[in-house]
């Protein structure tokens, strides 16, 4: 199956089959945010617990969708748990830049509705998340990969636990 190895890397399939941080948190106090991809019906529900020091103390993910949307969400939770808001925002920016830079290279600059995210300087170590880089070769799947990241960004943009919404 030529070409698919770039998309369905083993680590991505592993997160899809055995998602990390799956479940719910009581909200409030946790913030609950929903993301939805109308193209394919992907749905991500994040429960984000931010402690008094602004650290992402806990995060759970619920919802359903394709392997890319669900594994990206799983890998994201593993990557951001324990980080500060500032660090997490930088990682979100770096992740979206990884997707959008390649998207521009493919001539789909406006295909995803992503703001043209500049990569953070100095560069952020993407770790396991590098595995998702191959998604950019499949432009229609970029939205699947970025869904949970955009949703997490919304969680930070909310005023606080009282900002929890359905």
């Amino acid at each position: 199956m030529a070409g698919l190895e770039d998309l369905y890397r083993e680590i991505i399939l592993d997160h899809y089959r055995s998602p990390r941080n799956r479940g719910e948190l009581p909200a409030p106090p946790a913030r609950r945010v929903e993301g939805f991809n109308p193209l394919c019906g992907d749905e991500v529900i994040l429960y984000v617990d931010i402690d008094d020091s602004g650290r992402l103390a806990d995060i759970k993910v619920d919802g359903q969708g394709c392997s890319i949307s669900q594994s990206s969400a799983s890998m994201m939770t593993a990557a951001v748990k324990g980080r500060t808001e500032q660090e997490t925002r930088e990682l979100i920016r770096a992740f979206k830049a990884m997707m959008s830079i390649h998207e521009r290279g493919l001539g789909h600059a406006d295909g995803d509705g992503l703001e043209a995210a500049a990569a953070p300087d100095p560069p952020v170590d993407m770790g396991e998340l590098e595995a998702l880089r191959g998604v950019v070769k499949f432009p229609v799947r970029i939205k699947c990969a970025t869904l949970s990241w955009n949703t997490l960004g919304q969680a930070f943009d909310q005023a606080g636990p009282e900002g929890t919404r359905e």
Binding site: M1, A2, G3, L4, L7, Y8, L13, Y16, R17, P38, L39, C40, G41, D42, E43, Q64, G65, C66, S67, I68, F138, R141, C144
Partner: protein, 416 residues
Amino acid sequence: MAGFQAVTLDVARLKKDFPILDRDVAGHRLVFLDSAASSQKPRAVLEAMDHYYETTHANVHRGVYTLAEEATRAYEATRSKVAGFIGAPSPRGVVFTKNATEAINLVAHSYGRFCLPKGSAVLLTQMEHHANLVPWLMLREERGVELRFVEIDDSGRLVLDDLDRLLDGVGLVSVTAMSNVLGTLNPVARIAEAAHAAGAVVLVDAAQSVPHAVTDVAALGCDFLAFSAHKMCGPTGIGVLWGREDLLEAMPAFLGGGEMIRDVRLDGWTPNEIPWKFEAGTPPIAEAVGLGAAVDYLGDLGMEAVREHEVALTTHAMTTLAERHGDDLRIFGPPDAHDRGGVLSFTYRDVHPHDLSQVLDSVGVCIRAGHHCARPLMRRLGVPATSRASFYVYNDEADVEALSDGLAAAAELFAL
């Protein structure tokens, strides 16, 4: 369409009529199983459009010179062909639109806003495409028109036991002739009869049925019929609204501009006659020529033969896929291919439709994944999305086998 017709299609020969089927995808033969979204085009249609642009093009209904007259004649010739193709009594009832969606919007906008008796409701079904939902939801928002919905049962058929009660107070019924998700063929004639008895007019969304079976508006008993050229071997950018002439006469114009007027003064305007009253601006002329060629092409195949081919292929697909994949495969909609069109929506194990479509694409097989513009139906089925394979005149058993092999490959990749 009269006279001798081949009983079944010679698909091997027919495939050669479609130039796109010569191409490969990632080194694999193109297996196109998404004709319910849009069909491929035979050479005859492509050549007719090229020929028109190379020899004839001018604006229609405007000039008195030779080209303009020829272009007008070609454009109007398609109107007559379409009328014949759907059993319409006259081309006067055939309005060219952009597509089926615009045709439905035309009725919702014009009839819905100005002819629907005050206080009367609109009856739809749970299986409608967004194109036959949103225009009515807009009408409800704007005018407060009550919307009612015929429900479906677990096999994807309309529940019509309550039809007379549902129709009480209804001024318009709009129903799909064939579900784009389930393939269900709806008993439109029966619905139309009951609707007329209740004093309602009937619009049929025939986008999925006109390309695949004989259509006869008289036999259906409908008042309006909407469909798109691009699903029936024709080009994108043109569709049809057929309407009963007395209704079209009574309806106000939809879009304003050139062609749809008889006279314009600075203090007002007088509309043109039907059907031109509803065709504002320069119409899709080359597309109309292409649609005419598509109608000729399908007419030569014979719509009975097209339908017979699809029933046979759908039966074969449902049987062989079930044999090989068993309970891993869940096909939605009526179990008997005679009750449905050549559309198979399914889920396969826990492989998400989007992933399934991606894996199949890597072996050249094109299927649709998602909600198929029918989110209320998806909710009723209890799934966020399905995969959908749909057949047309150029598909055969080898295409079904390619689909089946692709399913097995996906199961292996995801090891679910």
